[in-house]
């Protein structure tokens, strides 16, 4: 019985020509599949926890007067304050309606972080009318350190060495989730 002739052909000079058509078919199919299943959206996330009510009041913690840094966002301004008066109250006016002064907020938070390097939490109390875009921009400026920010260090109590601080106040908690008020209120 005769064997099947080879699909490889020779041209006039005797050079072998590979049959690239099936490989080409496979590649086109693969590219089509990858393009179809690929995600072109580069999504990022900002994580936050629902505030948990403590069953027993920790008297020691209250006596210690925690910072509990709070940012109240109203329609035209933001107010940075601490319920125990650990930081000076600061009012930051919006640059224009719906546009908070995130640079001023970031600078104010940097100063507070320098004074309280162990603190990581910021309580957010926005007014009902604040939109999602404003919330994201405020959370961005409150959570992240920028490349232009001066370096800050804190001493690790376990090792005794200085470590660079990588974030500002990364833990965001919404302080007015349980209230039904329209104004931004405190925690």
């Amino acid at each position: 019985m005769l064997s099947r002739p080879s699909l490889r052909r020779r041209n006039e000079n005797g050079e072998i020509i590979l049959n690239l058509v099936p490989i080409l078919d496979a590649m086109v199919t693969l590219i089509a599949f990858l393009l179809y299943t690929m995600s072109f959206l580069a999504l990022v996330s900002i994580e936050t926890q629902f505030p948990q009510a403590s069953k027993d009041i920790n008297q020691e913690l209250i006596e210690k007067k925690p910072l509990q840094l709070t940012l109240t966002i109203r329609d035209q301004e933001m107010e940075l304050w601490s319920p125990f008066g650990k930081v000076e109250k600061k009012i930051l006016a919006f640059l224009e309606p719906g546009k908070p002064d995130t640079e001023a907020l970031h600078a104010a938070l940097l100063e507070i972080k320098k004074a309280f390097p162990e603190e990581n939490q910021l309580v957010l109390a926005p007014a009902s009318s604040i939109n999602y875009d404003t919330l994201i921009s405020v959370m961005d400026s409150a959570r992240l350190l920028e490349n232009s920010d001066p370096p800050m260090f804190r001493t690790n109590p376990e090792t005794g060495t200085d470590e660079a601080i990588q974030t500002l106040f990364p833990e965001i908690v919404f302080g007015n989730l349980l209230s039904n008020e329209s104004e931004g209120s405190g925690a």
């Binding site: 020509i17 690239l20 058509v21 490989i23 080409l24 590649m27 086109v28 693969l30 590219i31 990858l34 393009l35 299943t37 690929m38 995600s39 959206l41 580069a42 999504l43 990022v44 996330s45 900002i46 994580e47 936050t48 926890q49 629902f50 948990q52 926005p126 007014a127 009902s128 009318s129 604040i130 939109n131 999602y132 875009d133 919330l135 994201i136 921009s137 959370m139 961005d140 959570r143 992240l144 919404f174 007015n176 989730l177 349980l178 039904n180 329209s182």
Partner: protein, 191 residues
Amino acid sequence: MSIRRSIRLRKGRRRKQSESELPLTSMMDILVIILVFLLKSYTTSTNSLTTIAGIQIPVSASPDIPGDTLQVIVTPEGVTFENERIMDFVLAAAEAGTTEAHYRFKEADLDEEGLRVVPLFDALTKAREKAELLRAKSQARDENGQPLPFEGTLAIQADKRVRYETIRKIMYTAAAAGYKTFRFLALSREG
């Protein structure tokens, strides 16, 4: 040369010309480059989070990549949970002192003094029960031999115009349904 021979020769020349092949090597090179590029980009897109047409997502500098979680999408017109539209808002009259009208929850959709959104609560509860059932049937167990606990994480993807009033109600409802961790989604500033 006879006429017949001349025709035969011409036919043979034509056949030889029609057998000439396209140079596929350069095309192969291009396709290989595209394939390598796509495969490299493909590895970064690990989650199944989707979006819907017309939504304007804000931009964030956060470096955190969201993992696979249940997702609720809030547009100014309604709420979508896991690619299924579960409720529509109603257009409210412009408030005193403002010119812009905006969408609100229907009164019939709210309970617990207007804080809990009933259709969303039902959908979230159903999804949690389904996840817990799957975990109970799964072979994966914790240190005590119990099924792995429900993570209770919900991704919230909202249009940049959606008000905090709406987001607060959604977070409250989700917490009531057992979801205690929220991931606010935004577009990457770098991407």
